[in-house]
């Protein structure tokens, strides 16, 4: 057995969040649309049509490049990547080539609690191709069609250096990358719907062996990135240990079988005959534009995480969970504006709020609850107007009906009983009904007290003030002795 070092680099394609396509004014909202309904002469590559660059594309790509600490090249241009395929109407893809929008950046992320850094080799802009369709109402059996709705949708390709040393790290790096593009509203980062696509290069090497790069494609979720790369590590390790060669090739991840399969037949290196697209002029990125975008850059996940840790005294774990979704992080901070107890708000969000969201299958932005409403509820808990248990049930209703906490509590008559006389009467009743527990408590079994408190809660349908109940119980029991 020898020790192998795993080396992984990622190539991530991100669909940019623009309204219009990259070179025409067709809509990018293609999901669920009938084939070839979002097309025009330009994205269909009809004779005579010409591309005109959507400036929003440059802005979004620049935003991503700056967030990834890339060096911005002062002048850049588009090349044509020439190849034949039915989903490519022009016979070439318009893409940046040797002058990408950003180079030499880096990305920081946490993996298993440790802070890591992956260098970014380049980030470039390119257009998406169409989609081959092999079945559908409009297709005669045995034929294929091309859906051009996706043709010309703007993408950025982000390429990391091979700085990742395990499948976990690759997954965590990708998650951070997704987080960043979502934060910046550069992309919606949806892997299932294909707006974020990830390929990986992976090789195993040892002191005596140089690694052979294998490209893994077709990984459609963070989980499949992790699984595919883990599989690949094992596959390559086994080969190397048996003294067999690893071939430089492209392999496809089969999600169902849980294996990577060699994509044979496309081994020969294609010559794409790149040359500057004469239909588009080279363009320069003015310093003012770069500065403007830089200054408008929103706080990035890792920065936010660190600020949450210092400003609100949260643990790294707590902060990390909150910042994973920018909307949640914003919700957290908005709640604090009306109820400034960060720990408590954090706990409620990561447990109860998350649970409700999951049960309703929704997101915080679509949910009926607002930060000020949550603050109001937590204030009531904090002032002991209602118990935690009550608050959980109130929160549930807030999620379903959108009503405010105070309203629900009043309607249900749920105000906390903190009248000492009233509680004492209930306590006495409970003690009478539970002689065994009383005896247990008196003989030193602390647990029995908890049971008795529970009984009081049951009698009051949870409305008894827990602290007060406890104190009264102890007081009354001590007089029993």
């Amino acid at each position: 057995m020898s020790d192998f070092t795993t080396t992984i680099g990622l190539e991530v394609h991100c669909q940019l969040l623009t309204q219009a396509k990259m070179f025409c004014r067709c809509s990018t909202d293609y999901i669920g649309k009938e084939p070839n309904t979002l097309v025009c002469p330009v994205c269909l590559g009809l004779p005579g049509s010409l591309p005109v660059l959507n400036q929003k594309v440059v802005e979004l790509a620049l935003r991503a490049a700056l967030a990834l600490h890339c060096q911005i090249l002062p002048q850049t241009l588009f090349h044509r990547k020439n190849y034949f395929y039915p989903d490519l109407p022009k016979g070439y893809q318009i893409s940046q080539y040797n002058l990408p929008i950003g180079i030499d950046g880096f990305l920081e992320f946490y993996s298993q609690g440790v802070r890591k850094k992956a260098r970014i080799r380049r980030i470039h802009i390119e257009e998406d191709a169409g989609k081959l369709v092999h079945e559908g109402a409009f297709l005669p059996p045995g034929t294929s069609g091309v859906d051009c709705n996706r043709c010309g949708i703007p993408l950025v390709e982000i390429v990391t250096e091979p700085d990742l040393s395990s499948p976990e790290e690759a997954r965590d790096c990708l998650m951070m990358l997704r987080n960043i593009v979502c934060y910046l509203e550069v992309s919606d980062g949806n892997m299932e719907e294909g707006s974020l696509r990830c390929d990986a290069n992976i090789s195993l090497s040892s002191s005596s062996l140089t690694g052979v790069k294998v490209e893994v494609k077709n990984m459609n979720s963070f989980r499949s990135v992790y699984r595919a790369l883990s599989y690949e590590v094992e596959r390559q390790r086994k080969l190397l240990e048996e003294g067999k060669p690893v071939f430089q090739e492209t392999r496809h991840w089969d999600e169902i079988k849980g294996v990577t399969v060699s994509a044979r037949g496309k081994e020969e290196a294609e010559d794409y005959r790149y040359f500057p697209d004469p239909d588009l002029l080279p363009f320069s990125l003015k310093t003012e534009m770069i500065e403007e975008i830089k200054s408008g850059l929103l706080e990035l996940p890792l920065e936010k995480e660190e600020r949450f840790m210092t400003q609100y005294e949260l643990s790294q774990g707590e902060a990390e969970i909150l910042v994973q979704d920018r909307e949640i992080a914003d919700f957290f901070e908005d709640t604090l504006r009306n109820f400034n107890k960060p720990r408590m708000v954090c706990n409620w969000i990561v447990t109860e709020v998350f649970r409700n969201l999951k049960e309703l299958g929704t997101t915080i932005s679509r949910a009926k609850i607002t930060p000020s409403h949550l603050a109001e509820l937590l204030k009531m808990v904090d002032r002991k107007e209602i118990s935690g248990t009550m608050a959980k049930s109130v929160l549930e209703e807030m999620f379903t009906s959108g009503a405010r906490a105070r309203e629900i509590v009043t309607r249900r008559g749920m105000a906390l009983i903190n009248d000492e006389k009233e509680l004492e009467n209930i306590v006495k009743e409970v003690i009478e009904k539970n002689p065994q527990s009383v005896a247990d408590y008196l003989s030193g079994k602390e647990k029995a007290l908890q049971f008795l408190i529970g009984q009081v809660m049951k009698e009051t349908r949870g409305q008894a003030d827990p602290e007060l109940t406890r104190n009264i119980l102890i007081k009354v029991l001590s007089s029993e002795e």
């Binding site: 269909l44 005579g48 005109v52 660059l53 790149y274 239909d279």
Partner: protein, 492 residues
């Protein structure tokens, strides 16, 4: 009215007739349709005559005669068949697009229509504008109306022939390396290649994107001005189109200022390659200018000899990529094959002619890795040198005058022995195209019934000066406009 009466008409003259209601758009269209009917079996300038729609359009206009007439109102115009016209064929002279009907209008067509023009039809051309004789058209060559045995030139040969034979009062062509000017020269008419970026390319089917420019082919310089005013100006659909307003005749200097223009005569354009008579005719014209007090200076464009090679490499490279879209998948010709690869092969083998294939191969080769630096990149460098040549020359003068072509129109069907020889026909029109400069060809005399083209080249966006000089020179030369009898032989 009879077609002969229009022999010396300018667009302005038609406009006045229409303004005075002395003729209706319908009558006008009918006169030209008749002329087409009469001449086409000899000339074959048109691939498609828009008879029905043109008549309907003209009838519609006749019924709704506005108070104020737009500049081209009711005027029939012929369009080269690589310029997209909605609802009409746009074949580019290729089998590949034999049945292609464009769903949209090119910007230039849109602008012509908006100015009131009526599209008369689509004119013949060398396949995908590759060639200078129309012999590379899948649909057979066009004959030179001045001598039916000869070529009208190309690739816009159909447009030039239609204007020469007065089958159309004016036409649009496209010029990549001389495709407007050379046929204009061969047919004794006016051809203008505007500055690259002056006229939108949207809808002009790309041969070589960095070189293509649409331009007018007309009977008089005055008409080139009118058409340029209509078709030029920025276009939000073409990034390479300059963000300038349309050309205006107000940019043309006064005659007084034109007289002060210094004319450069590039030494390299008067070499032994030029047929003697052509050189003499140009010198005669220059003599006339000199007689009027215009200062002539000899200048040098030292990289002229390399321009040809650079042009064929750059143009072929761009063409190889621009023509990749004709793959049988979405539109145009498809020849079924056993599999996808096979379908590509069959379709492109049958769909493209010899010259197109030759240039695709040449272009693909010069872009492929390992050859890119040696060919494409080097050619781009030569292109820069050629541009600098002109910059230098135009520091010593305002405009350049050269022959448009080194020789007279050759006979159709003449065995092309040497391909290189054929390519050198464009030797005088290619350099200014590479440099993106405005250039115009104007008839400066006949020799045995065949016209001699004189080329004027200007600095970027200096069409004003260029057209000013052309107008004046045209007046000084006082040559009759062609009105050929369409006989096999020589005759004006």
């Amino acid at each position: 009215m009879k077609i002969e009466e229009f022999k010396d008409f300018t667009i302005q003259d038609y406009h006045h007739l229409l303004e005075e209601k002395k003729i209706s758009p319908l009558e006008l269209v009918n006169i030209f349709l008749e002329r087409i009917e009469e001449g086409e079996d000899k000339i074959h300038a048109f691939l498609f005559v828009n008879e029905e729609k043109a008549k309907n359009e003209a009838r519609e206009k006749t019924d709704n005669w506005p108070e104020e007439l737009p500049p081209l109102w009711g005027l029939p115009v012929a369009i080269k068949d690589n310029i997209c016209t909605q609802g009409m064929p746009t074949t580019c002279g290729s089998k590949m697009l034999e049945n292609f009907v464009s769903p949209y209008d090119a910007t230039v067509v849109e602008r012509l229509k908006a100015a009131g023009a009526i599209i008369l039809g689509k004119t013949n051309m060398d396949e995908f504008a590759m060639g200078s004789s129309t012999e590379n058209s899948t649909f057979g060559p066009t004959h030179n109306p001045l001598d039916l045995r000869r070529t009208p030139g190309g690739s816009s040969g159909g447009s030039a022939a239609s204007v020469c034979a007065l089958e159309a009062p004016c036409a649009l062509g496209s010029d990549t390396g001389g495709s407007v000017r050379q046929p204009a020269a061969f047919c004794g008419v006016v051809g203008l290649r505007p500055t690259y970026g002056r006229v939108p390319r949207y809808g002009v089917v790309g041969l070589a994107s960095s070189l293509d420019q649409a331009g007018p082919i007309t009977r008089k310089v005055e008409d080139a001005i009118t058409i340029l005013e209509v078709i030029s100006g920025k276009d939000s659909r073409d990034s390479t189109c300059a963000p300038y307003p349309p050309f205006s005749r107000n940019e043309i200097p006064s005659l007084e200022d034109i007289r002060k223009i210094k004319v450069g005569v590039p030494r390299e354009y008067f070499s032994s390659r030029v047929e003697k008579v052509i050189g003499e005719k140009i010198q005669e014209a220059l003599g006339k200018l000199k007689g009027e007090g215009v200062e002539l200076v000899e200048v040098s464009l030292p990289h002229t000899d390399y321009a040809l090679e650079a042009y064929y490499i750059v143009a072929s490279a761009e063409a190889s990529s621009n023509l990749a879209r004709y793959d049988g998948v979405m539109y145009g010709l498809r020849v079924e094959g056993e599999d996808l690869q096979d379908m590509y092969f069959e379709t492109r083998t049958l769909g493209f002619g010899k010259e197109v294939k030759r240039r695709i191969i040449l272009g693909t080769y010069s872009l492929s890795s390992g050859h890119y630096d040696e060919y494409y990149l080097k050619s781009m460098k030569v292109r820069t040198l050629v541009r600098k040549d002109f910059e230098e020359a135009l520091k010593q003068c305002n405009l350049l005058i050269t022959p448009t072509t080194p020789s007279f129109p050759f006979f159709l069907g003449e065995e092309t022995q040497d391909l290189y020889e054929r390519y050198t026909d464009d030797i005088f029109t290619i350099p200014s195209a590479l440099a993106g400069l405005p250039s115009l060809s104007l008839n400066c005399g006949y020799e045995g019934g065949l016209p001699v083209g004189l080329q004027i080249i200007g600095g970027p966006f200096e069409e004003g000066k260029l057209l000013g000089l052309a107008l004046w020179l045209e007046k000084l030369l006082a040559l009759p406009s062609p009105f050929p009898e369409l006989k096999e032989g020589r005759g004006q």
